[in-house]
Symmetry: C2
Subunit: 323 residues, 2 copies
């Protein structure tokens, strides 16, 4: 058995609980047809770009899977499994053991089993690329392009925490924050919370949806662009965590960095007005907070974020771009 | 539009010809159910490991897709599409334009459309990770674990060329070779030939199959291990190209480096004796050369490679391992 096979057998075979994974002993996995549409999404995370070299390995694994689960949830899909590409500089047990443990725990928690993968060596940055599969009834995947004027704009959870957490990890000094608050923000950066529980409510009620990964302002602009509409957002209604609210109110950060920071992995969706109550109820039953932050309006302009004085907030950049 | 979106729109949207790709304007792609099993395989290639930094971008793209198509063919599956993760240091048009062109040509040639992807920046080595999908009738994916004593061991094409080509690119001096022969071997390293045309014959006749990516000896050992059998291989019957035969006969390389070199991307399969004629005929109709190189035998031992004098050939290493 080569080093690569032994690594797979030792760390990843225990995660391959689905019969279609064939115990990771073959060249490919099998996804049985269910009559549903299969939703396919792929997202990679790179050391030094999406996670930091000294992030704990189990949180890196969780983030790699969760950013994909977040996409599935936003599309209204139930997780069905994933394949993993892992590019490593060396096979280091002290790194691999917690990585595989974190991945396995999340695969079990979100019922998204490992189906297969590829482990390669790289001379450069670590990279984890995951392709995840979900299922939706035929033709029911929620697209970005269905938003209509008059729909409510809704987000799950709170916005901006992860970008603040990344700022703290990069050395921002914020004396106002206690240790618990720092830890909460950093946790939001390292381990996003995919809104899997909200998938069915999104599928049943949303006219358009996506996850917020590159910043609320930029991602809303993408959704509006795909739908051929615009939006007016009441910045004061954007849901914030306690620490984020504190940093905003004492002037340590501005609202523009909250709405253009990345890594939220919340669901952004548009809900027809006559569906909103049912959606809010379904979200509540799923245990996920959702907040109406504005309205879809007609026209091609970039969505506007309006402050408490009714003025448009200037956004120097809408979102994170790799290039 | 951010740099990343513009890059995707400019270079990759033209490749997204399948309706399920949604023109790459959404977070996920849709694979419609066909009633078939979906075969999923994932393989990544890394700069400096699977390709060389100065390999032409179009050949890098072709290799990235073809190594996955090779897996699908070995499993008896017809290509259905793929998703791409591309990790780049910079968005360089002079690199991306030929990369996307090569990828698009192969996607069209092998009827395997781009369904989606993720483009990320990396401070390190370029990496291309592809997850490819194929379809087989229910329960008909060809596994590694079905080989039985008495089956013939068969390979497609010729073995060893790619490893010799890599040797040449790394500076091996082989005066005996002409420019055409050098180019042929290098081409076999850079652009493997997936045996897509052989998929149906493999599905109809093979008891076990895999593609030869890490070296014939090691991959045969894996297939035998999965099947709980061994094999006796007649080394003299291993199909070689003209240049490989020349290098072997003048002593420039030994048979052990031919059978343990990687990157062949030929199909290795086992065919029950009473099926062999039908398989050979189907392969011939598909335009793919196949060669019987030995026999599956009972027992747990590592497959033996026998030379012209009936002696077992010593193999210092069976195959390439990343770790």
């Amino acid at each position: 058995m080569t080093g690569e096979d032994s690594l797979i057998s030792r760390y990843f075979k225990p995660l391959a609980t689905d019969p279609g994974a064939l115990d990771l002993t073959d060249d490919a996995a099998i996804l049985k047809p269910s009559g549903d549409d299969l939703v396919v999404t792929t997202d990679a995370i790179v050391e030094g770009v999406h996670f930091l070299p000294d992030d704990p390995p189990d949180t890196i694994a969780r983030k790699a899977l969760r950013v994909n689960l977040s996409d599935l949830a936003a599309k209204g899909a139930a997780p069905a499994g994933f394949v993993l590409t892992l590019a490593l500089r060396a096979a280091d047990d002290a790194w691999l053991a917690p990585f595989a443990r974190g991945l396995g725990e999340d695969a079990a928690r979100f019922q998204c089993p490992l189906l297969g993968g590829d482990t390669v060596s790289t001379p450069g940055a670590l990279m984890i690329s995951i392709t995840a599969f979900g299922r939706v009834p035929l033709g029911r995947m929620v697209r970005r392009n269905g938003a209509k004027a008059g729909d409510r704009v809704v987000v799950s959870g709170t916005i901006g925490d992860a970008a603040l957490g990344l700022g703290l990890l990069k050395g921002a000094t914020v004396p106002a924050l206690g240790a618990d608050e720092r830890e909460m923000l950093i946790g939001r950066y390292r381990v996003p919370q995919p809104r899997t529980a909200l998938a069915q409510a999104v599928r049943n009620h949303a006219s358009a949806a996506m996850d917020v990964s590159d910043g609320l302002a930029g991602d809303l602009a993408k959704l509006c662009g795909a739908s051929g509409v615009s939006a007016a957002i009441d910045a004061q209604s954007i849901p914030l965590s306690g620490p984020a609210r504190e940093l905003l109110s004492n002037g340590a950060v501005g609202i523009e960095s909250i709405v253009s920071g990345g890594d939220d992995y919340e669901i952004l969706c548009t809900i027809p007005e006559n569906r909103f109550e049912a959606f809010a109820q379904a979200a509540s039953q799923a245990g996920v907070t959702v907040t109406s932050i504005g309205t879809i309006i007609a026209g091609p302009s970039v969505p506007r974020f309006i402050d408490g004085q009714g003025s448009k907030i200037a956004l120097p950049r809408l979102s994170y771009s790799h290039f």
